[in-house]
């Protein structure tokens, strides 16, 4: 049954019924049809509402799902960032530790030979550009160190080195540098130190070590011999070091616990 066709027909019939003054014959049929139509529409509307409601519920559920998913992703992302940041901090600290380990001596915590070599080259390069920026290097060597090691053991020897390193470090100015050059040898760099001052500085260092607190009663107080020299502008740093070494050799030959310059 086409609703439109019936509609037209039924509408006319109902209108005719309504405009009549007295009930027309066969009035029941159009009324029954109208009622039937009304019931059909009602059912249709119910179904429509039902379907629409379900769509709406599904849609709500879907967006709820997106929301839950979204919140989960945000939490996950925050967590990844947090963990990642911590790992990066860890890496950074590890790098600093490695850097320190590669530049510092683990026993005395002084700069090591590697680090000092770089600084010496830099300082020599500076002096080549500015001849007035002359500098002094000193090599300090603990006297009779082997005897301490032999008699009291290596642990005692280590403590002596630490005590000497500490005494040297305390006697330095802020921009001077003392490195553990190897074994019982320390290399000292004095930027902008005139040759006239070098003997005074060397003596101060020697006395500082001699006056350092004893590490124990039975171990004799350590002394140092120092050889020092002024870097000559333009010369290779190795040559400067060699001269300081020669001076140290002279100091040792002169009876130790003294300083000699060349």
């Amino acid at each position: 049954m086409s609703p439109l066709h019936l509609n037209d027909n039924l509408e006319e019939q109902i209108e005719a019924l309504l405009t009549a003054d007295t009930p027309v014959d066969g009035w029941k049929e159009p009324l029954r049809e109208l009622f039937q139509r009304y019931m059909d529409q009602q059912r249709l509307l119910d179904r429509l509402t039902h379907i629409a409601d379900r769509f709406q519920a599904a849609e709500r559920e879907r967006s709820q799902g997106y929301l839950v998913n979204y919140e989960k992703k945000v939490r996950q992302l925050e967590k990844i960032v947090r963990i990642s940041d911590q790992y990066q901090t860890m890496l950074h600290q590890l790098k600093e530790r490695l850097e320190h380990a590669s530049n510092y001596d683990s026993l005395t915590n002084l700069p090591n030979r590697r680090y000092m070599t770089i600084r010496l080259e830099e300082t020599a390069a500076q002096a080549a550009r500015k001849p007035e920026a002359g500098f002094t290097v000193m090599i300090a060597d603990v006297d009779d160190f082997k005897a301490v090691n032999d008699k009291f053991g290596h642990a005692a020897g280590d403590r002596v080195l630490q005590a000497v390193a500490h005494a040297l470090e305390l006697a330095l100015r802020e921009y001077d540098m003392c490195a553990r050059w190897g074994g019982e040898e320390f290399l000292l760099l004095f930027p902008a130190c005139e040759s006239a001052n070098a003997p005074l500085v060397a003596e101060r260092l020697r006395l500082a070590v001699a006056a350092a607190p004893r590490i124990s009663e039975e171990i004799p107080a350590p002394t140092i011999s120092i050889g020092y020299t002024q870097h000559r502008t333009g010369e290779n740093i190795d040559k400067t070091l060699l001269r300081a070494d020669e001076a140290l050799y002279k100091a040792k030959n002169a009876g130790r616990n003294c300083s000699i310059g060349m």
Partner: protein, 125 residues
């Protein structure tokens, strides 16, 4: 299914995945150039193992440094384990670390946070 074995490189961890005993071992640093390429076979192996067998799956981790995409991949892996655990599967993780590097333990704690399956973090003796 096959076992999966990847040798350790400076930027990727050693990986051993044994399907017979249901054990996964990963140790080292992880910052692969192509994280997807590196982790996909691992994730595929886990998916296959969980799908094709009903055996327990144990993870033995000694991971140290993870970059951001590796962190993501590990979280994906733990999500899978969590899901398997929720559906009644027996899974567990043991993350051991060098006691000198306490921070790794703290980081493993972050990963553990959302997992309800057995997840042990222990300094290596």
């Amino acid at each position: 299914m096959n076992d999966l074995e990847l040798a350790q490189t400076p930027s990727t961890p050693a990986v051993r995945m044994d399907h017979k005993v249901g054990r996964v071992f990963m140790a080292g640093d992880s910052y692969p150039e192509n994280p997807f390429e590196f982790f996909q076979p691992i994730i595929d192996w886990i998916d296959t193992f969980l799908k094709e067998t009903s055996r327990p799956l144990s993870f033995d981790l000694e991971l140290v440094y993870l970059n951001t995409s590796s962190i993501r991949a590990m979280m994906d892996i733990f999500d899978r384990l969590e899901e398997a655990h929720q559906s009644g599967r027996q899974v567990n993780v043991l993350w051991s670390y060098d006691p000198d590097n306490e921070r790794v333990g703290e980081l493993a704690e972050e990963f553990k946070e959302d997992c309800t399956f057995p997840f042990t973090i222990a300094p290596r003796s």
